[in-house]
């Protein structure tokens, strides 16, 4: 057993629910975007930009972005506690790098969505 201090909800059940909820949001978002792109083979900038200008699309995209961060955190936390069991320092370092990436993705993504 390794630390549970760094897991998202300090509880396996909470993480389990977060992982599933974010998965469903991401699946719907992925299929929606895929459908949109497939439905318009000659996609223009105006159509693409128009889609992301809609408030509902910003809400949908932000939900997906937050879901990516939560989902990836639970996933990579699990990977770190499964494989990096020899050194607590190394595991914390891995988790720190993961968190840095995800926080950057979050801010970057919000910046992109709100520049439209």
């Amino acid at each position: 057993m390794v630390n549970s201090v760094t897991n998202l909800g300090r509880s396996g059940l909470y993480d389990w629910v977060v992982q599933r909820l974010s998965a469903v949001i991401l699946a719907i978002y992925t299929l929606f975007l895929f459908g949109f792109v497939v439905a318009s083979p000659e996609l223009t900038f105006a159509e693409w930009h128009g889609l992301f200008s809609q408030v509902w699309m910003k809400v949908f995209s932000l939900a997906a972005l937050i879901s990516i961060c939560a989902h990836a955190w639970v996933g990579l936390w699990t990977i770190s506690t499964d494989y990096i069991t020899g050194s607590t320092a190394l595991r914390f370092l891995f988790q720190l790098v993961t968190a840095s990436f995800l926080f950057s993705y979050l801010v970057w993504g919000i910046d992109i969505l709100w520049s439209v």
């Binding site: 998965a23 469903v24 900038f45 990516i68 990836a72 993705y105 992109i112 520049s115």
Partner: protein, 124 residues
């Protein structure tokens, strides 16, 4: 139970059953997607920036390396999504026995292979 019983946890010498193969691929594809987000955000940013940048991304997509990366991302995403659906079905108690678990893994792997092939056709 005898605590001195012989154990072999060396993954390189263990023959993984089919559900284990489907599972480890789910994990590997998820790990890959963690890095793929950076590429996707980069493309999203450029595509929404201006008409020129949008055209720039379309031009970039003609390059073989960009095609390869896109195919890789779509493959990881497609497989991860399919294996994730299997996971959710198993949460509901579907496909939890040894036999049905094997069938579920088989379906996941075959569907994943089909999606990866179709993604390749789409990109090229």
């Amino acid at each position: 139970m005898n605590s001195n019983r012989p154990k072999n946890l060396d993954l390189t010498t263990i023959q993984l059953p089919l559900p284990a193969k489907a599972s480890i691929l789910h994990r590997i594809s998820g790990f890959a997607l963690f890095f793929a987000v950076a590429f996707m955000l980069y493309a999203l940013q450029a595509s929404l920036e201006s008409e020129q940048a949008f055209g720039g991304i379309q031009e970039l997509m003609d390059h073989w390396l960009a095609k390869l990366i896109t195919w890789g991302i779509l493959s990881a995403l497609g497989y991860h999504l399919i294996a994730g659906v299997k996971h959710l079905l198993m949460d509901m108690g579907i496909g939890e026995t040894k036999e049905s678990g094997r069938v579920g893994a088989m379906i996941t792997l075959i569907a994943g292979f089909v999606v990866i092939a179709l993604a390749g056709v789409w990109v090229w």
